[in-house]
C-alpha cells in the first residue's frame, strides 16, 4: 500500500468532466511530479486530494492517504488531516498569506490547530521553523507582515507552515512558477530539502519539465484530465512512449540545449482545448500526428517496462524516439536536470 493512492478519480464541473479516471500513487517519502499544460487538470487534482474542490465540482473515485479514503471522509475529518498529515503549497505566495496577519502567527496557526500549541509555543516553534527555511533573523521575520517580504521570502514562509506538522505528504502546486528565475532554484532546493528532512512525500505539480525532472523520482503526465503516461523519471524522459510526452520533451529540449535558437521552436500542434471540448476516445487525438481510427476508442493505460505505463494506441517504440532530434533532446533534458540538481547542492 502506498502512502497516497489515487484511484479512478473523476471530477466533474456540473456535467462536464474535468478529471477522468486519474490513477496514480505516491510512496512514503517519495517525490512524484505531476506534469501537464494549463488546463490539464493538475490543480484540480491537488484540490481534490485535499478535499478543497469548489462547491461547483464533484469528485468520484478514491483518494487514499495512509489507507484512509479522503473522498468518503467527513469534512471535519478532512480538516483534521489537512495541514497535519497532508499540506499544500500554493503557486502564489503573495495571495496565499493573509495581508493583515504577522508571518509568525500564520506559520504558528497550523500548530495551534493540530498540536494544540499555546500562542507562545506556536510563536517559538514558528521562529524555529522560519530559521529552518533559511531566514537569518527568524525573530524579525516572524514579526513582519507579508508585504514587507519579497516573493521568495514569502514562499519560504509558506513552505515553513507546510512542513510545520511534519505531514506525510506535501502537495506543491506550481510552487516556483510565480517566482523570479534566480529564486526558483533556491526555493525548489529548499522544498526538496524540507520534505527529505521531515520524511514527507512530495507531489510536485508543474508545467515546467525541468523543475519536475530535477526534483522527482517518478512522473505522471496529465492531459485533458487523463493520465497519459507515468513511470520513473528517467524512463519517461529517456524513453517516452506517448506522443504527447515526446512532444513536450522536444519543446523543452529545444529551449534548454539551444537547438531551437537556430530555427523555429518545435511546438505541439494546436492548443489545449477548453474543459469539456476534448475529443472522445483518446483526448490527444486531435493534436496527434499518429492519430487514426483506432484512436476514436479510449486507450487504456498499458504497461511498459517496469512500472512505466502509457495510454496510447500507437505508442512510440521503446528505445527509439520518432524524430532523431527529440531523442537526443530528451537525453539532454535529463542531463540538464541532473546538472541543475548537482549545481544546486
Amino acid at each position: 500500500m502506498s502512502l497516497l493512492d489515487v484511484e479512478g478519480l473523476c471530477v466533474d464541473l456540473g456535467r462536464v468532466p474535468v478529471l477522468s479516471e486519474v490513477s496514480f500513487s505516491v510512496g512514503t517519502a517519495e517525490r512524484v511530479g505531476l506534469i501537464g499544460e494549463s488546463g490539464s487538470g493538475k490543480s484540480v487534482t491537488a484540490l481534490a486530494i485535499l478535499g478543497l474542490l469548489p462547491a461547483s465540482m464533484t469528485a468520484r473515485g478514491t483518494v487514499r492517504l495512509e489507507g484512509e479514503d479522503l473522498l468518503a471522509a467527513s469534512e471535519r475529518r478532512r480538516a483534521q488531516l489537512r495541514g497535519d498529515r497532508v499540506a499544500m503549497v500554493f503557486q502564489e505566495p503573495t495571495s496565499a498569506l493573509d495581508p493583515l496577519m504577522r508571518v509568525g502567527r500564520q506559520v504558528g496557526e497550523v500548530l495551534r490547530i493540530h498540536r494544540g500549541a499555546s500562542r507562545r509555543q506556536a510563536h517559538a516553534e514558528a521562529v524555529r521553523l522560519l530559521g529552518r527555511v533559511g531566514f537569518a533573523d527568524p525573530e524579525a521575520i516572524a514579526r513582519a507582515f507579508p508585504h514587507q517580504l519579497s516573493g521568495g521570502q514569502r514562499q519560504r514562509v509558506v513552505l515553513a507552515s507546510a512542513v510545520a506538522c511534519r505531514p506525510s505528504l506535501v502537495v506543491a502546486d506550481e510552487p516556483t512558477t510565480a517566482l523570479d528565475v534566480t529564486v526558483q532554484a533556491q526555493v525548489l532546493d529548499l522544498l526538496r530539502h524540507l520534505v527529505e528532512e521531515s520524511g514527507s512525500a512530495l507531489l510536485l505539480i508543474s508545467h515546467d519539465l525541468a523543475v519536475v525532472s530535477s526534483t522527482c523520482e517518478r512522473l505522471v503526465v496529465l492531459y485533458g484530465g487523463r493520465v497519459l503516461e507515468l513511470g520513473r523519471t528517467a524512463e519517461v524522459l529517456e524513453d517516452p512512449r506517448h506522443p504527447y510526452t515526446a512532444g513536450l520533451l522536444a519543446t523543452a529540449a529545444a529551449v534548454s540545449d539551444g537547438s531551437g535558437l537556430r530555427g523555429r521552436l518545435p511546438a505541439l500542434a494546436g492548443s489545449v482545448p477548453s474543459i469539456g471540448a476534448f475529443p472522445s476516445g483518446c483526448v490527444y487525438r486531435n493534436r496527434c500526428e499518429r492519430a487514426d481510427e483506432a484512436c476514436l476508442a479510449l486507450p487504456r493505460l498499458e504497461s511498459g517496462q517496469g512500472d512505466h505505463r502509457f495510454a496510447c494506441w500507437h505508442p512510440l517504440e521503446t528505445g527509439r524516439a520518432p524524430e532523431p532530434r527529440t531523442g537526443e533532446a530528451s537525453q539532454s533534458v535529463v542531463q540538464g536536470a541532473n546538472r541543475a540538481s548537482g549545481e544546486k547542492r
Binding site: 480538516a79 488531516l81 498569506l97 493573509d98 495581508p99 496577519m101 496557526e109 490547530i113 508585504h147
Partner: protein
C-alpha cells in the same frame, strides 16, 4: 427622512469595492500619512474630534446648568458676556444646552451603530460563509427591513416603549442593520474567495475560525467607513425625531428639540434656531467627510504603489 446618498450608495456598491481588498490597509504604516494628506478625512476628523471634545467637556463643565430653569433672568436674551449665545425662552443658557446636546447626538450615534453592527455584521458574515438558502433567507429578511421606513419604525417603537433617545436610536439602528449586513457580506465574499482563505482551509482551519481570524480583520476598513456614515445618519435622525417630540424628551438638551422650541420665537429671535441648526449641519458634515475620507484612505486601489 431619507438616508444620505453616501450610505445608500456604499451599501449598493460594496460588491465593486470589495474585490480589491486583497492587500488590505489596516496593517499599513503609511495609514497616518495618507490620512493627513486627504483633506476630507482631515477636515472631517477635525470636526468630529471637536464634537467629541465638546461632549467630553460638557460632562464635567458647562457655563450654566443646561436643563434647570433659572429664576430672575432675562428670557430670550441676546448674546452677552455671561451668556455667549444668549438664553432661550425659559432663560436657559444656549451655549450650555448646545454643549449638552452634543452628548445626546454622540450617544445617539453610538446606540445606532452598536445595534446595527452587532446584528448586521454577524448576519452578513453568516450569509457570506453559509451561502445557499441560508444566505438567501438572511439577505431577503434584510430587504424586508430595508423596505420598512425607518421613521415609521421609530414612531411605532416610541409608541410602544415611550419616547427616549435610546428608543429612537434603537429604531434607527434596526433600520440600518441591512446596510451593515450587505457591506459585511459583500466584503466577506471577496475575502472568502481569496487564496489565503483557501490556504487557511488547506492547513485545517475551520470555517468559523477563518471568518474570525481572516475575514473580519480584512473587511474592517469597510465597516469603519460604514460606521462613520451611520453616525451622521443617526445624528440627523435623532434631531428629526426630537423635533417631532419622538426622540429625547425634555428637559434634556437635544439639538432637534432646541430647534423645535426655537420655532415658536423664530420671528423675533431667529438666532435661537440658527445655533442648533448649525450644530446639526456641522456634525453631519463632519461625519460624512470623515466617512468619505476614510473610504479613500482605506481603499487599497487609491493607495500609491510602494
Amino acid at each position: 427622512m431619507t438616508l444620505p446618498l453616501g450610505l445608500r450608495e456604499r451599501a449598493r456598491t460594496g460588491v465593486e469595492v470589495a474585490p480589491e481588498l486583497g492587500a488590505s490597509a489596516l496593517g499599513d504604516m503609511g495609514l497616518a500619512r495618507r490620512f493627513l494628506s486627504c483633506p476630507a478625512a482631515l477636515i472631517g476628523g477635525a470636526i468630529t474630534g471637536l464634537l467629541v471634545l465638546v461632549a467630553l467637556v460638557s460632562l464635567v463643565w458647562t457655563p450654566f446648568d443646561p436643563n434647570a430653569i433659572p429664576q430672575n433672568v432675562h428670557l430670550l436674551a441676546g448674546p452677552s458676556g455671561s451668556h455667549l449665545l444668549g438664553t432661550d425662552a425659559l432663560g436657559r443658557d444656549v451655549l450650555s444646552r448646545l454643549m449638552a446636546g452634543s452628548r445626546v447626538s454622540l450617544y445617539a450615534g453610538v446606540v445606532a451603530v452598536v445595534v446595527a453592527s452587532v446584528v448586521g455584521v454577524p448576519a452578513g458574515l453568516a450569509a457570506a460563509s453559509l451561502g445557499g438558502s441560508a444566505s438567501e433567507a438572511i439577505m431577503r429578511l434584510g430587504d424586508i427591513l430595508f423596505a420598512f421606513p425607518a421613521l415609521l419604525g421609530a414612531t411605532t417603537l416610541t409608541a410602544a416603549l415611550g419616547a427616549s433617545t435610546t428608543t429612537a436610536m434603537l429604531a434607527i439602528g434596526i433600520a440600518s442593520v441591512p446596510y451593515f449586513a450587505r457591506v459585511a457580506r459583500s466584503g466577506a465574499l471577496a475575502v472568502l474567495s481569496s487564496e489565503y482563505v483557501l490556504a487557511a482551509r488547506a492547513y485545517g482551519q475551520s470555517r468559523p475560525a477563518i471568518v474570525r481570524r481572516h475575514v473580519l480583520p480584512n473587511i474592517a476598513p469597510l465597516l469603519v467607513v460604514q460606521t462613520t456614515l451611520l453616525f451622521s445618519v443617526a445624528i440627523l435622525a435623532e434631531a428629526a425625531l426630537s423635533y417631532l417630540g419622538l426622540g429625547t424628551p425634555p428637559p434634556s438638551a437635544s439639538w432637534g428639540q432646541m430647534l423645535e422650541s426655537a420655532q415658536a420665537t423664530l420671528q423675533t429671535d431667529p438666532l435661537l434656531a440658527l445655533w442648533p441648526a448649525l450644530a446639526i449641519a456641522l456634525a453631519v458634515l463632519g461625519f460624512n467627510l470623515l466617512g468619505d475620507g476614510l473610504s479613500d484612505v482605506l481603499d487599497p486601489r487609491l493607495r500609491p504603489v510602494a
